[in-house]
């Protein structure tokens, strides 16, 4: 096995933490390292004496007498007050960084995020919709997120950000990427069978490249429709339920779909397979359920542009 298609690895940097790629990452890592060294200190403070005592005070005879000292106010107060002070310091570090990470600057670039089982959809201010997240470098990006079905969670390790995406609630998250890179976005709230496949690619581009990307409707170079359709198929969740090799998954296979001519629906009627049928089935799938399949597909209305649907149709025609 290898990574799911198009998902780049997380950039590693040292033993513990991934590389930093956002403006808040450094502060988060600072808190991490403070906590880390504090933990190391207290760990040895407990474990070294434990091992030392176990060795030097190993029992030599059953009648051995032991120390009568069973408390010491001074030392007990010391080991209560001192850690309390350190913990309050940790809290202060944490809450400061948190405040920074929660409140987006006013000039943020706003992207709407819709999560559904098991794909992500990013809608840009100009209407461009993409299954992958592409953001400009050096500009705060604010994500306004909601879920169509169950709870998901948005996590990009290099940005040090995470936020659950909840149905019936808008949650927000912001970051400012400070280097151009590619990485993986992972869903971190268990959302069902394909939870671990709910990944997508995050790309940070130079502002001018990002502008090009937006102008091309979410690609760097204009792709031919068939190729664009294939990409949408892979990135927008179609592949989870519709196979291209004829195996039956949740929904009908796309193999030989276009040449089949017509489809029998659960209400007994038969429809002709044409552009209108496909369009309708993508935008409002519940209106035309193919006989023998469950009504589980989410509606893509508002999430795909007309060009996207045209591209998908062009690609579907090539599946034989």
């Amino acid at each position: 096995m290898s990574n799911p298609p198009n998902i780049p690895p997380i950039t590693e940097d040292g033993f513990w933490l991934p590389a930093q790629a956002s403006t808040i990452a450094a502060e988060t890592d600072h808190t991490w390292w403070v906590t880390y060294w504090m933990s190391i200190f207290f760990f040895f403070l407990v474990i070294v004496p434990m091992i030392y005592f176990a060795i030097v005070h190993k029992r030599k005879s059953e009648t051995e007498k032991t120390s009568p000292i069973d408390h010491s106010m001074k030392i007990e107060i010391a080991w209560t007050v001192l850690p309390t002070g350190l913990l309050l310091w940790l809290f202060a570090l944490g809450v400061t960084g948190y405040a920074n990470s929660q409140v987006a600057p006013d000039n943020s670039y706003e992207i709407k995020v819709t999560a559904q089982m098991f794909s992500w959809s990013f809608q840009y201010p100009d209407g461009t919709v993409s299954g992958e997240l592409t953001v400009p470098k050096g500009r705060p990006v604010k994500l306004v997120m909601s879920s169509q079905d169950v709870i998901h969670s948005f996590f990009v390790a290099e940005f040090r950000v995470k936020q659950d995406v909840v149905p019936g609630l808008y949650t927000t998250l912001w970051f400012e990427a400070n280097k151009t890179m590619e990485t993986a976005l992972q869903c971190t709230e268990y959302c069902g069978e394909k939870h671990s496949n709910m990944l997508t690619k995050v790309t940070v581009l130079e502002p001018k490249d990002f502008q090009t990307w937006i102008d091309n409707g979410g690609t760097m170079e204009k792709m031919p429709p068939v190729e664009w359709g294939a990409k949408l198929y892979a990135s927008r969740g179609c592949a989870n339920c519709h196979s291209v090799d004829g195996t039956r998954v949740q929904g009908p296979t796309f193999k030989g779909f276009w040449t089949k001519g017509s489809e029998k629906l659960t209400d007994g009627s038969t429809v002709k397979i044409d552009e209108n049928y496909v369009r309708q089935s993508i935008l409002e799938p519940a209106t035309q359920i193919v006989e023998g399949y469950p009504n589980v597909m989410s509606a893509y209305a508002g999430q795909l542009r007309d060009e996207d649907i045209d591209a998908l149709i062009a690609w579907l025609k090539t599946q034989n």
Partner: protein, 545 residues
């Protein structure tokens, strides 16, 4: 002061034959209708160990599956069901009931010098409720399984999952009542059945720990009951309290759930701490350092534990202000835990430390729990938690606390009180060997997961990015070592039943009351109610007081 006691001096020589609670009556029926707390404890022991083996089996399946990305053994559905059942069985059927219902049940009355718990029939009812709850929970194995995670988060569990959610939640609902009744029983027992001379400050610290646990059981578990009831009604009658489509709130479910389940973490760890306090003092033959500090920190943990549940929800969509407050309070629960750890280490100072199985497990606990506790600081710190939340770091953290803490402590307690419970001595070398293997296997399995998580590996993933494969594989190899060690430990104990030497009444030279009666005790625990004139840790010291 010499260790004078008005109850008859029990000789150190092993008793052979004679009646005890095990052979007092014969036949299955005598066990199923018993109200003797010791027999009930033994039945709990067998039941929870079966649950432990099942949970462990699921764990090995999970680890095996994670050897490589993609399918090794299970498909995604099977994996999701395995981790759900691993969590649900371990939490609800093993860790929560294990120490209170097994060791607490067995020892609490004896340590108090009582003949039984306050309500013996209620105690038996708890056991039957446990069995009934377990039956419902495990029924999912033969029906359609369960794939919601042990947390049953809505709306996945209510709107999407087509598995046996109702049966399992109903089972857990019943298990909750078992837990409540056990806690209630113990609280009244500690208040009302202490033998003459056992003042609050002469209680063994085990009793303090169990008492604190019981408080949490009584105060927190009812909220779980109503939560699960609402979940069931959501599924059968679209009640809508947690359903965003109807105006309900899925985050509210998390509040309800964690109001119970965070204190439940203390239901799991407080008894472990209770055991360790006794094990370390007894095997160091030393007065426990900071008795009152340990006793009150147990109660403090139990109470502060109710104020911090929101730290499970820092990324949930909870209000930022609430997160800040919950984070602040979370640090205060770290302090009493820290105090305990310092006191335990100090108890070993100038002690007479026996290198035997219970002490090995006790020191393992100290090592592992310290790591578990300290890594909790990372998760309580708000901005670091944003990075670590729902990653393997969390998995590693709570396994260090639940497994490295509670389970290792349970094993320490089991090895410590095994001679009392069964009247047999086990092979100490084998016991120590099992501890070393468990310790190595545990750290291989779970320490790896800390840096898996900090590098960005999310939890509950069936398949994962290629870069994590070597670490996952190492963790899996560790789980095999861990499994081997645990099996060796159980075999050591079981072998003692067949071939172990008869246990004297006080094999460790301990001072608390349970060691004054014979091993195994008679049904009434003591031939007459003891009058206690000294504390549970009054060991011979270098100076006379």
């Amino acid at each position: 002061m010499s260790r004078s006691i008005t109850a008859e001096e029990v000789s150190q020589i092993p008793q052979s034959g004679g009646t005890n609670y095990i052979n007092a009556e014969q036949g299955v029926w005598s066990w199923l209708t018993t109200v003797d707390h010791k027999r009930i404890a033994l039945m709990y022991l067998v039941s929870t160990l079966i649950a432990f083996l099942m949970g462990g089996f699921f764990a090995l399946l999970l680890r095996f599956e994670l050897l490589h990305p993609g399918k090794d053994l299970l498909d995604a559905k099977g994996y999701n069901q395995a981790f759900t059942l691993h969590g649900a069985v371990m939490v609800f059927l093993f860790v929560i009931p294990s120490t209170p219902a097994v060791l607490g049940n067995f020892l609490l009355p004896i340590m108090l010098g009582a003949k039984d718990v306050a309500f013996p029939k209620l105690n038996l009812l708890s056991l039957y409720l446990y069995w009934t709850g377990a039956l419902f929970t495990l029924s999912s194995l033969v029906t359609s399984g369960l794939d919601t995670g042990w947390t049953f988060y809505v709306p996945f569990s209510t709107a999407v999952s087509d598995t046996s959610v109702i049966a399992v939640t109903f089972g857990v609902f019943i298990l909750g009542f078992s837990s409540i009744l056990t806690g209630l029983n113990f609280i009244v027992t500690v208040h009302k059945l202490r033998a003459p001379g056992i003042t609050w400050y002469r209680l063994p610290l085990f009793c303090w720990g169990i008492y604190a646990t019981s408080l949490v059981q009584v105060l927190a578990t009812p909220v779980l009951a109503i939560t699960l009831l609402l979940l069931i009604f959501e599924k059968v009658a679209q009640i809508g309290i947690f359903n965003p489509k109807l105006g309900g709130d899925p985050v509210l479910y998390q509040h309800f759930f964690w109001f119970y389940s965070h204190p439940a973490v203390y239901i799991m760890i407080l008894p472990g701490m209770a055991i360790i306090s006794d094990v370390i003092a007894v095997h160091s033959h030393r007065r426990i350092f900071g008795y009152k500090a340990i006793a009150f920190s147990s109660v403090a943990i139990a109470l502060i534990g109710f104020l911090v549940w929101g730290h499970h929800m820092f990324t949930s969509g909870q209000s930022e202000l609430a997160s800040a407050i919950f984070s602040f309070l979370t640090f205060f629960v770290a302090i009493p835990s820290g105090i305990k750890v310092f006191n335990w280490t100090s108890t070993m100072w100038r002690g007479s430390i026996a290198w035997n199985t219970p002490m090995f497990y006790g020191m393992s606990f100290l090592f592992l729990f310290t790591i578990g506790g300290l890594t909790g600081l990372f998760l309580g710190t708000l901005n670091v938690d944003l990075h670590l939340h729902d990653t393997y770091f969390v998995v590693a953290h709570f396994h260090y606390v639940m497994m490295g803490g509670s389970v290792i402590a349970f094993l320490a307690g089991l090895f410590h009180w095994w001679p009392k419970m069964t009247g047999r001595m086990y092979n100490d070398s084998l016991g120590k060997l099992s501890c070393v293997i468990v310790f190595i296997g545990f750290n291989m399995t779970f320490f790896t997961q800390f840096f898996l998580g900090s590098r960005g590996m999310p939890r509950r993933y069936y398949t994962y990015l290629d870069q994590f494969q070597p670490l996952h594989a190492f963790s899996t190899y560790g789980s095999w070592v861990l499994g081997l060690g645990l099996i060796l430990g159980l075999v050591t104990l079981l072998a003692s039943l067949k071939s172990g030497a008869r246990a004297p009444s006080n094999p460790w030279g301990a001072k608390s009351l349970e060691w004054e009666t014979q091993s195994p005790p008679i049904t009434e625990n003591f031939k007459r109610t003891p009058l206690v004139t000294h504390g549970p840790y009054d060991y011979d010291t270098t100076e006379d007081k």
